[in-house]
């Protein structure tokens, strides 16, 4: 617990009447890859800016290495940022951009050269020192921006949607490189993205944000498998969400039928929402499964078929299947008890964690 490096306590940010951050409590530990994930306008970049020092929080405290840094200006904070649009200085070449921070610190020339060389090597841009920024591709500019930040050896690197301007292929490559870089440097990365796949692939821990609040935090697997509420289930991955109610522990009712499930700790007959991931649904013949649906349309996605079907209650079901179905077919869907994720309505993260512990610890 002692290696918490950045901590936000009850942080609020208001612009006039609009609250863009509401009671943010975040702890960031040394050497891990964190992601703030949320749709645009959810406040994730605002948190980053509060840590970097580009905005003052309206209420609450920001700690760095145990010290309160609310009033420390950006240039004195030991964090560096990779900006969304990179913000590379257009009047300087690659070398001058990367050396900027070191020259500000008035380091000896030999040391600057050595550290710049090392940083450029890290991002695989050795030999590009004298290129102008305008001569670089988007991916190369991205690397220069990272080199410029890591050359200062910050303890925390903040990355504000750094991959959003790259095309899909390059983006995938950069994801691997970022993850590798983080592990090699051993410093904390705090990464902001609206791309849930990116977040799941890269992070040690994810904070899912919406409307200026942290909805859920946890490892990618936790968040994917045990979404706390409708928003998280919907935002992370694709999901079928149906409403039902909890009959008793480990039995949930939806679509007019009772199903065995792996969740417990709720009031009897409590109304709940049930999440079923499309890839957990298997298609079988009518009579062999748990829900009967009519196939409406299907799309070939390369590695799987995305099938949209409707049950008799006109609920939409999304299925990912390796085998194609036929439009208009009537089929059954089957799933295992542990594929059912039950979510209470308006459950706080604390209660959620406590409830999970109460029956999973058995």
């Amino acid at each position: 617990m002692s290696n918490v490096i950045v901590e936000l306590k009850h942080v609020y940010k208001r612009y006039g009447d609009t609250e863009v951050l509401k009671d943010i409590n975040i702890e960031i530990e040394q050497g891990k890859f964190y992601t703030l994930l949320g749709p645009s306008g959810s406040g994730k970049t605002t948190i980053l800016r509060a840590i970097a020092g580009f905005l003052d929080v309206s209420e609450g405290e920001v700690f760095f290495n145990g010290e309160k840094i609310n009033d420390v200006p950006a240039n004195k904070r030991r964090v560096n940022t990779v900006f969304q649009d990179y913000a590379l200085f257009p009047h300087m070449n690659v070398l001058d951009n990367v050396a900027y921070g070191l020259r500000i610190q008035k380091r000896p020339k030999a040391e600057i050269k050595e550290r710049v060389d090392k940083a450029l090597k890290m991002v695989r841009l050795s030999g590009y020192e004298n290129r102008e920024i305008s001569e670089l591709s988007g991916g190369q500019q991205q690397r220069v921006a990272i080199a410029r930040a890591i050359v200062l050896e910050p303890e925390v690197l903040l990355l504000d949607e750094p991959l959003s301007a790259l095309d899909a292929k390059l983006r995938k490559d950069m994801q691997y490189e970022l993850r590798e870089l983080q592990q090699r440097l051993g410093i904390t990365f705090l990464f902001v993205t609206h791309d849930q796949e990116e977040a799941l692939a890269l992070s040690d821990e994810i904070f899912v944000m919406s409307d200026g609040e942290v909805q859920q935090s946890g490892t990618p697997v936790d968040i994917y498998d045990e979404p706390i509420n409708h928003f998280v289930a919907d935002f992370i991955g694709e999901s079928n969400i149906v409403s039902g109610h909890m009959v008793k522990d480990f039995v949930v009712e939806f679509n007019g039928k009772e199903f065995e499930c792996a969740d417990a700790g709720m009031r009897p007959n409590e109304p709940v929402e049930v999440v079923l991931r499309p890839e957990d649904l298997d298609i079988t013949a009518v009579g062999e499964g748990k829900v009967t649906v009519d196939v409406d349309t299907q799309l070939f996605r390369g590695d799987y078929y995305e099938i949209v079907a409707y049950d008799d209650a006109k609920n939409e079901w999304l299925i990912h299947s390796t085998n194609p179905a036929k439009d208009g077919d009537r089929v059954d869907l089957t799933f295992d008890p542990e594929d059912i994720h039950v979510m209470r309505l308006n459950e706080s993260e604390e209660d959620f964690d406590a409830r999970l512990e109460s029956y999973e610890g058995e």
Binding site: A74, K76, T81, F89, H91, N93, E132, A149
Partner: protein, 273 residues
């Protein structure tokens, strides 16, 4: 397609006519005139006079010096003003207030300053309240530079303001993020990236300042004699059009030199330290 080219050509006609009639033709006429002496004889004498007589050289140095002072004063005032304006609320309104004086005729403004600066004018009356005897303000270098700067300031503020507006706040944040203090950010990032606005402003102020002539008379009291004054004298008083044209040619050449010095140069091949 053919019709389109014809139409677009037609759109060029007013512009081309304007350029030919009011830019190219006058320049050619001035150059042509500069080769004739006062009796209409072809001669190179005007240029010889210009470069040999100390008077004209002094006058040129004088003009450049005053234009430099005026540019410097406007720049020193305009850059911070434009910077503050960028962060001000209601900046459109403030900008309008800065542009507004340019709608008023220059002579009118000059005469207004005669009233303000004269022995019995507003400034001396104000100083009088503190028991300070009336000072000679009008017809001094100070008043000339003051009024000229006042008139030129909008032309300096506007390009600089545009330059600062175009500056991406992200660069400033990036610089701070990398540990730079505000003063370091200013010299390493803000100033270099707004330099094009400064250059445009310098061009817009320095070149017209070289040939100011009404102000030299009305405010400078003919104590300050610039090339502009000399041209006026030659054309209207001594009727030596050839000599006047020669000075005109010198001014045009000076303009090109300034344009070259302050123009955007290609970055490639530029050696850096």
């Amino acid at each position: 397609m053919k019709k389109n080219t014809a139409t677009s050509l037609a759109f060029y006609v007013p512009y081309a006519l304007w350029i030919v009639l009011f830019v190219i033709a006058p320049v050619i006429l001035i150059i042509y005139q500069s080769f004739f002496d006062i009796d209409g004889q072809f001669t190179l004498g005007n240029y010889a006079t210009y470069f040999q007589s100390g008077t004209y050289i002094m006058m040129t140095i004088n003009s450049v010096w005053y234009a430099f002072l005026i540019t410097l004063v406007t720049l020193v005032i305009s850059y911070p003003a434009a910077y503050l304006l960028h962060y001000a609320k209601h900046k459109e309104l403030w900008l309008l207030l800065i542009i507004l004086p340019t709608w008023i005729n220059l002579l009118l403004k000059a005469y207004a300053f005669i009233g303000i600066f004269s022995q019995d004018g507003g400034v001396n009356n104000f100083l009088g309240l503190f028991g300070i005897a009336p000072k000679q303000i009008l017809f001094t270098d100070f008043s000339f530079i003051f009024v000229a700067s006042y008139i030129e300031i909008p032309f300096m503020i506007l390009p600089i303001f545009n330059g600062i507006e175009e500056l991406d706040e992200g660069y400033v944040n990036a610089s701070r993020d990398l540990g730079a203090k505000w003063s370091q950010t200013f010299t390493h990032v803000i100033l270099p990236l707004t330099m094009s606005g400064v250059k445009a402003g310098v061009q817009a102020v320095f070149i017209p300042s070289l040939s100011l002539f009404m102000l030299t008379r009305l405010i400078g009291g003919n104590r300050v004699i610039t090339l502009g004054t000399a041209i006026e004298e030659h054309f209207l008083t001594t009727m030596n059009w050839g000599m006047g044209s020669t000075i005109g040619v010198v001014l045009i050449v000076a303009m090109f030199i300034i344009m070259f010095l302050t123009g955007e140069r290609r970055k490639k091949g530029a050696k850096r330290a």
